[in-house]
């Protein structure tokens, strides 16, 4: 017998429409959406005054497993995702060992299924050990269910090899995700090249390090007509290029992360160079934040991913230049988007759903996710848009606590997360 859940009086938000209705879930699917559903169910949830959104899909997380299970593992990562309203996450292959073969990719899926809280789908490496020398077996990845490939953390330096990767990926209908960075320009810098980096003599990464590589990647993908997704777009110059290229190249999509539309180099200085403000690509200038916001509004940037990057406390306590890059994001993303984009009229709540659910599903061709619709998977988030909360270190369920948003007050809470018809998170403070 299928488990049945009835969500009453929901304000249902899809990317294109808001409606009021009840939602009936049976097994892992949404079976009925209509007013006043009367049905004997196992559980009824009163969603009056709450907004019900399609489960969020994060195209870019680092779950540190295998290799750094002290920083995150599939269980803690799943708990963090569920708490943040994510029902699907795609994990990057920069693990140790690297997910550059189907055996490891398959193991990730099996482990995630065993935990069963959210879907964790591995992104296969483009090249062996992400070294940019030899392609991995894309066909083998495809067989175990991989949908995308990336050497995230590295860009494939060799332009010919990158061309081959894109052409070869096309044969398996795999999406290539690019980490756009010219490391010769980055020169092991720690923050965005800016007046602030010059004032403190901090090794710096110019925005062109992202933009020139992004331009190359787009033109190669366009040349071979392969689908390309750009990870963590962070600056105005990149936005300008994407806006121009998207007109001619429909296979192009991109994401940004919440910090790129909220924080700037000034916040790095204000933190007195706290390594919790160190991320790659680095935080930009005010004009970058504005460009990213406006690109989200105009649809130039398709989605918001967290680039969830857990790091141990010991590593993030190091001096700024010595500490590793990255922020955690799964538990904060929804509230950050709501607080900094929706309440500021940059996106409406439908726009939030488009960036966090609908577009990722479209880009990754997940036909049964990303919308609240009869017949689709019951991946849902029940949210309270009026409620404020404070980001407290101790309340984070991720194993790592490295976020620049500690102690800030955000608006919008996740009250329930339902994954494939199962309540996987339920907030206690209702």
């Amino acid at each position: 017998m299928n488990m049945k859940i009835l969500i009453k009086k929901a304000t249902i938000v899809n990317y294109d429409k808001i409606s009021e209705a009840d939602i009936l879930i049976s097994g892992d699917k949404i079976v009925k959406i209509s007013k006043n559903i009367k049905e004997k169910v196992d559980r009824e949830i009163n969603a009056a005054g709450k907004h019900v959104l399609p489960g969020f899909i994060d195209m870019h997380v680092h779950l540190r497993t295998p290799g750094r299970e002290d920083e995150e593992d599939f269980l803690s990562g799943s708990l963090a995702a569920a708490k943040g309203g994510f029902t699907t996450v795609f994990c990057m292959p920069n693990t140790s060992p690297c997910i550059d073969n189907e055996g490891l990719a398959n193991w990730v899926r099996e482990e995630a299924q065993r935990i069963g809280l959210v879907d964790i789908w591995p992104i296969g490496a483009i090249t062996k050990n992400r070294e940019g020398r030899e392609l991995t077996e894309f066909g083998a990845f495809k067989k175990v269910g991989c949908m995308a490939l990336s050497d995230d953390g590295n860009s494939v330096e060799d332009s010919f090899l990158f061309r081959c990767a894109l052409e070869y990926a096309k044969m398996f209908d795999l999406l290539t995700i690019s980490h756009c960075e010219d490391k010769n320009l980055s020169r092991q810098g720690s923050m965005r090249e800016s007046f602030i980096s010059s004032k403190y003599g901090i090794g710096s990464i110019p925005d062109i390090s992202e933009t020139v590589r992004l331009y190359r990647d787009i033109e190669i993908a366009r040349y071979v007509d392969a689908r390309l997704h750009l990870a963590h777009v962070s600056c105005a110059k990149s936005v300008e290029v994407i806006a121009d290229k998207k007109e001619h190249f429909p296979g192009l999509s991109c994401e940004t992360a919440p910090h790129y539309f909220i924080l700037t180099v000034d916040d790095v200085e204000k933190s007195a160079f706290n390594a919790n403000f160190k991320v790659n690509p680095p935080l930009g200038k005010k004009e970058d934040v504005e460009a990213v916001r406006s690109a989200l509004k105009k649809g130039i940037i398709d989605c918001i991913a967290t680039d969830h990057a857990p790091h141990s406390a010991a590593e993030k306590e190091l001096p700024f230049e010595d500490a590793p890059f990255g922020f955690i994001g799964l538990e904060l993303c929804f509230a950050l988007v709501y607080t900094y984009l929706v309440t500021k009229d940059i996106l409406d709540i439908k726009g939030l759903v488009e960036k966090l659910s609908y577009n990722p599903a479209r880009i990754l061709r997940l036909g049964n996710k990303g919308k609240i619709q009869e017949g689709l998977l019951a991946d849902l988030v029940i949210t309270d848009l009026r409620k404020e909360w404070e980001v407290k270190k101790d309340s984070l369920v991720s194993k790592s606590k490295n976020t620049p948003f500690l102690d800030s007050t955000l608006k919008g809470t996740v009250n329930y997360t339902i994954h494939r018809g199962k309540v996987v998170y339920e907030s206690t403070g209702l």
Partner: protein, 308 residues
Amino acid sequence: MSGWLKKHIIALKDLERREIELIFDAAQSFKEISQREVKKTPALRGKTVINLFFENSTRTRVSFELAAKRLSADVLNFSSSTSSLAKGESIIDIIKNLESYHPDIFVIRIGSSASLRTLTQYTKASVINAGDGKNEHPTQALLDMFTVKKARGTVENLKILIVGDILHSRVARSNIFGFQKFSSQVRVCGPSTLIPYEFDKLGVEIFYDLDKAIEDVDVIIMLRVQRERQALSFFPSLREYVDKFSLSPERLKRAKKDCIVMHPGPINWDVEISSSLKEQLHPLILRQVENGLAVRMAVLYLVGTRKK
């Protein structure tokens, strides 16, 4: 008594003009003491100063060590090149470890820029910056300014020129912030590749032509050329560098008559400065070293005796 309040001396950016003046006053009295037969004062008796050097710098360390000893403090030297450390991680461990000796002052030299604020969290002691990456080297700038003050009677409303590798120079940054607090105008001159991004926003004038930059200046600070750094991607050859940026007698003539030339040392003669100027310029550069001792005594004294 001295009116000094700051716990740490980390950057000239953060010091007020009044505080810099207090340091000059104290340095002046210590300079006098250093000329006496008995050079020691009991000012920091019973206090412990730890020199913690994660980068090699015998000159700065020796200067701080002698300064602390002349103030009768107990001095501990801990040097460890970053290469012999497993990872930056253990820097914090080392500080926590040395904290067990209840030091009063840590004098720290470290390779990572702007890192000392983070490190102050791990100790109850005061921290004095002896050079942090490319950020600042406050005592070097203070001794440069003190030297100018002694030679010219003031550090106010002067034209200061800093020549060379500005990008990698903590000495340049500290001097800029220091002199600007006294309404002096700072010019920087060097290969365009070694001038930091948007550096004009700091309120400095940027020159690529030393002959023009040098006109009318009161003070010239020649920076050391780091031959060991991968300098070659920044400029093609030492020959071309010398041709464009070395201080020669002809060039020096374009500066003010009583212009002061300083160098943080050690000098590469005939690279930064023509050796034909050695006799003329060396005495003042050596006086910088002497003033360095007085300035370091001053900062140790002020921080070590501050009212809590």
